[in-house]
């Protein structure tokens, strides 16, 4: 069933008003235009995602297109396309790599100096596009660094970024990418493989401290017949999952910092625990993951609605995170929420985002540096103003800002 070629057009660019209207209509509502269920509230989305892989499933690949889909993911086995026991095993492995404990060393040794280096460059200018000049630089270099790739080489990073941008239309139109995106994505995927493959082969012995070596070292304990295509696809997925959405989250976080009166001063005086709460609120209000598609594995009931086997459901996570039933003053940044991490910005359930702790660490280091080093940060009135783009994943650009000298 192909329902979603209409989805990007059906969602308005700035959808928060639409989400408010949808929630008024119910937790789970039938939409004729897409022949699917729209899950609009926090309760509904959480219940659906918690039952992932049992009651619900992520969209399956059309068998006729399976080979091409795999090739666009790198050609090997990847977490997102695995199911059941294999998925659980690989998901746990990713979680270990990116556990809050594990990323502590990256915060000190990598993230903080990297953020400081970027700000050394842009701070004296007094103005910058924080999307292009800061948010677009940090996550991609972070992923490259932990994989042991040349993250300080601007040309190399630029090449990877540009190829990933060519893949974006394919991955940005879930659950069914438009056919027009296939060919371009396949070509970009092949080129990305060419960029990464020499590094993958070079680390085959698995003796290094980097994540490519670790993937070689531990992969054969995870899946049978582990080979270089599996390692390559793991590298590709780390870039895919660890760059664009973290960048978008960072942009949203900076946007709120620039536009909410007094927030920068408040955070500047606050301790890290409060800044962590700010990061969570920014994720809740401006997280890029707007819609998650699912299929029902069997007849079931969700928030009182009878869902039939193979029905399509869209979980509107960004709507759920502004649900007034679950969040007091849902449109406001509240740094005193009882459960600051209760949002769904990293999804929920057995397919919850494996890179959440790393993304949080990057956001925290970024906001910590920016509140101190870019005083009186505010929108640049003489530059293009930000506008929202995307469909199931959304963000804003550009983000031109000015600030006072320190």
């Amino acid at each position: 069933m192909r329902t979603t070629d209409a989805l990007p057009g059906w969602m308005s660019e700035e959808p928060y008003g639409l989400y408010d209207q949808l929630r008024e209509s119910g937790d789970v509502i039938w939409d004729d235009s897409t022949a699917s269920w729209l899950v609009t509230t926090y309760t509904g989305c959480k219940e659906m995602l918690a039952a992932d892989d049992v009651v619900y499933r992520s969209p399956e690949i059309d068998p006729a297109l399976a080979e091409m889909f795999l090739a666009i993911h790198g050609g090997g086995r990847v977490l997102t396309l695995l199911r059941d026991e294999e998925h659980l095993r690989i998901h746990r492995w990713w979680m270990q790599i990116f556990s809050p404990k594990a990323i502590l060393r990256w915060r000190d040794d990598l993230l903080r100096p990297m953020v400081a280096g970027r700000l050394d460059d842009i701070e004296p200018r007094g103005r910058a596009d924080l999307e292009a000049d800061l948010a677009d630089e940090l996550p991609i270099r972070t992923i490259a660094a932990i994989l042991g790739l040349p993250w300080e080489d601007d040309d190399w990073i630029g090449q990877v970024r540009s190829l990933m941008a060519e893949l974006a239309p394919f991955f940005g139109q879930r659950p069914w990418p438009l056919a027009s995106a296939h060919e371009k994505a396949l070509a970009a995927s092949m080129q990305l493989n060419d960029v990464f493959l020499p590094f993958v082969r070079e680390r085959r012995l698995g003796t290094g401290d980097d994540l490519i070596s670790r993937t070689w070292r531990e992969g054969s304990d995870l899946l049978a017949d582990w080979d270089e295509m599996d390692v390559l696809s793991t590298v590709r997925l780390m870039f895919l999952g660890g760059t664009e959405t973290t960048k978008m989250s960072m942009v949203g976080m900076f946007y709120l910092l620039m536009t909410v009166d007094g927030m920068q001063d408040r955070l500047k005086e606050a301790n890290e625990a409060v800044r962590k709460r700010y990061v969570e609120e920014a994720l809740r209000l401006r997280g890029p993951l707007h819609v998650r598609p699912r299929f029902a594995n069997r007849d079931t009931t969700l928030c009182g609605k009878h869902i039939k086997k193979d029905d399509v459901l869209y979980g509107f996570l960004a709507s759920a995170d502004r649900d007034p039933v679950s969040f007091d003053d849902p449109g406001e940044i509240r740094l005193d929420r009882a459960a600051p991490r209760g949002h769904l910005a990293f999804s929920f359930g057995p397919r919850t985002c494996v890179g959440a702790a790393l993304a949080r660490a990057e956001l925290l280091e970024a906001v910590d540096a920016v509140v101190h080093r870019l005083p009186n940060l505010r929108p640049d009135p003489d530059a293009e103003q930000p506008s929202m783009f995307g469909s199931t994943t959304k963000s804003i650009r550009p983000l031109h800002a000015i600030w006072d000298p320190r």
Binding site: R92, M95, Q96, S99, K101, A338, G349, A356, A357
Partner: protein, 75 residues
């Protein structure tokens, strides 16, 4: 004397190893070295820690933790 207390329980077979509980309430949770799944460091929760533990339990994305109030003199 009757004492109310909070009983903490973990279901490691459900755990996917996010480590969120360890971050939010490290006195009560740890992770196994080999697969990252949850290990309880204590099963009885002190009242002064109840908020932190409750937050950790609520944050678990796969409901691998539970916290229940018990009435009685078991302590």
């Amino acid at each position: 004397m009757t004492v109310d207390w909070l009983a903490l329980q973990a279901f490691p077979e459900r755990c996917i190893g996010t480590g969120t509980c360890v971050e939010l309430a490290p006195l009560y949770f740890d992770q196994r070295e080999d697969d990252g799944t949850v290990v309880l460091r204590a099963a009885h929760v002190k009242h002064e820690d109840a908020d932190d533990v409750e937050r950790a339990v609520d944050s678990c994305p796969v409901f691998a933790l539970s916290l229940a109030r018990r009435d009685g003199d078991s302590l």
